[in-house]
Subunit: 95 residues, 2 copies
DNA sequence: ATAATTTGGTTTATAAAATAAACTTGTTTA
DNA sequence: TAAACAAGTTTATTTTATAAACCAAATTAT
């Protein structure tokens, strides 16, 4: 009847991050912060969780002298996102 | 960009309850329990929350001699659900 | 009859999450 | 060179979700 919802994706900010990355497939930390309206602290934590789960990968480089954190979605992440959307539909269809 | 997600609805079990009620507009506690696979305790808590928010109304009656808890969605609940679905779409469209 | 089980829940306790606040490190700018 | 800013991280706090324990009444078994 109702398919379980991946708790990693069923969270507003993480879902927003994934949503951004799925269409951009590369984004810098400050950009994600701006687009989502999240605080840096919250974003940092949620990025870590997605990264730990292997849904995104995080590259730490420099842009000139300043640190620059780049996020990309992984294949696993893409799959998980699609599965999540599919599962969600079992709740949404006002049959 | 991303519309905020009503935290009351953005929770697996509560969403399932609302999903059931939106198409059935009346359901008994044990039926919801069975359909969602939730424990009675969890269901009781989440039904209370939806009820407190005015998203559903709960009628306590008897079925023969046994207590019977009937849940119905309210107009507010219906509206909130629709708004939630709309907001969700801002995260899901893989533009 | 009465003991055990089942039904239909509620209340309380616990574990996990989300989020914000505080902090750090290095870089510009005044 | 002091103050402000950028880019995050770490820690602390507050909510939540969830399960476990409990309760009362009704039914079934002995």
């Amino acid at each position: 009847m109702f398919q379980p919802l991946d708790p990693l994706l069923h969270a507003e900010l993480r879902l927003a991050i994934m949503s951004l990355l799925i269409s951009a497939d590369e984004a810098e930390f400050p950009y994600i912060k701006e687009q989502t309206g999240a605080t840096a602290g919250n974003l940092s934590v949620q990025v870590d969780k997605l990264s730990a789960a292997g849904y995104i990968e995080v590259e730490k480089t420099f842009k000139g002298k300043r640190p620059c954190t780049i996020c990309r979605i992984t294949d696993n992440g893409r799959q998980a996102f699609e599965a999540y959307v599919k599962a969600l539909k079992s709740y949404l269809k006002v049959k």
